[in-house]
Amino acid sequence: MSGRQAVQVLALAVVLVAAVAFPFWANRTQPYYLQIAINIISFAILALSWDMLARTGQLSLAHAAFYGLGAYTSALVTTRMGLPIFLGMLLGSLVAVVVAAGLGMLTLRLRGIYFAIGTLAFSETLRVVTNQLRFTGGATGLVVPPLLGGQRVPQYLLILAVLLLAVVVSWMVNRSRWHFAFTAIRTNEAVAGAMGVDVVRFKVLAFMISAFFAGITGAYYAHVFLFISPIEVYSLAVSVGALVAPIFGGLYTTAGPILGAVVLRVGEEILRSTVQRGYPIIYGLILALVILYMPRGLIGVWASVKSGLATGRKETREPAGP
C-alpha cells in the first residue's frame, strides 16, 4: 500500500465514522439536519443506481417508475395485507427488479433519444394508472405505517447501510470484468456483441441492479414520510434528480454521483430558504452549464486541477471520467 492509498483509506474511514456518528449528535441538537441527511442519502442512492444503468449507455428517464413501484408495493402489502415492513420493503424492491427486467427486455432495441422517450413514457403511464386505480388510493394517496417505530436515528443508519451496499456494488462493478463489458456496450453495442460480450444479459442485469436500489429507496421513503401519492413518487423530478446528480458529479464513477447528489441537495436547501418557489431552477442551470462547460463533472474538474498541480512531477494518473 503506497502513501497515497493509505491517505485515501484513512479519509474514507473518517467519512464513514463521521457518517455513523452524525445522527447521535444531530438527534439531540439539530433534528432537522437529520431529516435533510436522510434526504441526501436517499438521493445519493438514486443517483448512484441511475449511474450504474447509464454505464451500459442506457440513459433512463424511468427511475421514478422503480422508485414509485417500490413505494407503492411496500405501502400496499403492509397496509392491505398486514405484512411486516421489512418484508414489504424487500417485496417492493423485488417488484421493481422484475418490472425492470421486463422493461429492459422491451427497450433493448431502443437507442439514445428513443430509449429516453420510451422510458419516460413508461414512467408516466405508471403514474396515470396508479392515479386511476381504486386500490392504490388513487390521486388522494396512501397513508403508510412508520418504519422502526418512526425513530429517526435507526432509520438514518438503515438508509446509510443501503448506500454502503450500493457503493460496494458499484465499486465491484467498476473493478470487475463487468466494467469492460458495460463500457464496451456503451461505446459501441454492435462491436461489443461481435467481440463476444453478452449484450442482452448485461443490459438487463444493469437495469435490474439499478431498479433494486431505486425500489428499496422508494419503499424507504414511503415508510419514513408516511404518506405517498402518485404525483409525488412517480414525479419526473425523481428521474431528473437521479440523472442530474451523476452528470454534475461525474458519470460512470462511484464517487461522482454521490458527490453530485450531496452538493445539489445542499445547494437546493440553501436556495429553498432564500427563494420560496422555483428553486429547482438550479437543476436546469447546472445541467445546461455542465453539458456546455464541464462535460466530465466535478470529478473531472478535480482531476484536471490535480494534474495541473502535479505538472512537472512524474506521476501516472488513472484516467477519470468517460
Binding site: 433519444i113 422517450i117 413514457a121 408516466e124 452528470i247 422555483g278 431552477i281 442551470l285 445541467l287
Partner: protein
C-alpha cells in the same frame, strides 16, 4: 366525439410541427419545446390582461417575441452542441426546459391563470353539431399556420434550403447555403410555432408554468407516431392522438383521467412495434 378529436388535433399539429422541424432540419430533439409554448401562452395572457389584446390578434407580436427568445437560446446554447453526442444535446435541452419552467414559477408563481375573452362561451352550430367558437377558431388558425409551413418548406427558397440542409449538411454548404443561418432560422421558427400554439391555448385553457412539459410530451408522441423528422406526417399523427384521446374520454368510465395516459401508451406502442413511425 369525432368533431372534438379533430378540433383538438389542429392545436396538436401546430404544437408539434415546430418540434418536427427542429428534429428534421437541425437534428435536435428539443425537450424545451413545450416551454416555448408556455412562454407564448404567458405572452398571450399578459397582453390580454394588461392591454386587452385578443390572443389571436397578438399572434404576430407573440410569434416574433418567441422567435427572438428561441434564436437567443440557439446562439447561446444549442449551437455549441450541434456536433456533440446526441445525449448531450438531449440533456442540454432538458436543462433549458427545467430552467425556463422554474423561471416562470419564480416570475409568475405556479397558479394557473385564465384569460376570459368575450366569446369564450359562444357556441357555433356546424350542421347537426354544436362546438365552441374558441375551439373552432383555434383549429382554423392552427391548421392554416401548419399548412402554410408546409407551403413555405415546399415552395420558397428558404424552405428548400432547410430541406437541403436536412438531407445533407455538407452537400448543402457546398452549394453555398449558409448552414448555420438556416439552423438559426429553423430553430427560431420552431420555437415561434410553439409560442403561437401557446397563444392559442390562452383562448380555451388556463395558463401555468407546468403546461410546457405536457405539450413537450404530447409533441414527442406525435412526432414519434409520425416518425422522427417526418414533418409531413405530423398532421396525421395529431389526428391519431386527438381522436384516440377523445375516444377514451367518451367511452371509458372516468375517461378524463385515463385520457392523460393515452399519449404515453401510444409512444410506448409505436416505439416498441414500429420505431420508424407509422407514416414513414
Amino acid at each position: 366525439m369525432l368533431i372534438f378529436g379533430v378540433l383538438r388535433s389542429g392545436l396538436y399539429s401546430l404544437a408539434s410541427v415546430g418540434l418536427a422541424l427542429s428534429v428534421g432540419v437541425i437534428g435536435i430533439v428539443n425537450f424545451a419545446h413545450g416551454e416555448f409554448l408556455m412562454l407564448g401562452a404567458y405572452m398571450g395572457y399578459w397582453l390580454f390582461a394588461s392591454y386587452g389584446v385578443d390572443p389571436l390578434a397578438a399572434i404576430p407580436l407573440g410569434a416574433a417575441g418567441i422567435f427572438l427568445i428561441g434564436s437567443l437560446t440557439y446562439r447561446s446554447a444549442i449551437q455549441r452542441v450541434l456536433r456533440a453526442p446526441e445525449l448531450n444535446q438531449m440533456l442540454l435541452t432538458f436543462g433549458i426546459s427545467i430552467f425556463l419552467q422554474n423561471l416562470a414559477i419564480i416570475l409568475w408563481t405556479g397558479d394557473p391563470r385564465v384569460a376570459t375573452v368575450s366569446y369564450k362561451a359562444t357556441a357555433v352550430s356546424l350542421g347537426p353539431f354544436t362546438v365552441g367558437l374558441p375551439q373552432l377558431l383555434v383549429f382554423a388558425v392552427a391548421m392554416t399556420l401548419t399548412l402554410s409551413l408546409y407551403a413555405v418548406l415546399g415552395r420558397t427558397r428558404i424552405g428548400k434550403a432547410m430541406r437541403a440542409v436536412a438531407q445533407n449538411r455538407l452537400g448543402a454548404s457546398l452549394l453555398g447555403i449558409e448552414v448555420d443561418r438556416v439552423y438559426l432560422l429553423a430553430f427560431g421558427l420552431s420555437t415561434a410555432l410553439a409560442g403561437t400554439a401557446g397563444l392559442m391555448i390562452t383562448l380555451q385553457l388556463s395558463v401555468s408554468p407546468f403546461i410546457g412539459l405536457l405539450y413537450t410530451l404530447k409533441a414527442f408522441a406525435i412526432i414519434v407516431i409520425a416518425g422522427l423528422g417526418n414533418i409531413n406526417g405530423v398532421i396525421y399523427a395529431s389526428l391519431v392522438l386527438g381522436l384516440s384521446e377523445a375516444f377514451v374520454e367518451f367511452y371509458v368510465p372516468q375517461g378524463g383521467g385515463w385520457a392523460e395516459g393515452v399519449f404515453f401508451l401510444l409512444i410506448l406502442l409505436v416505439l416498441l412495434v414500429r420505431p420508424q413511425g407509422l407514416f414513414k
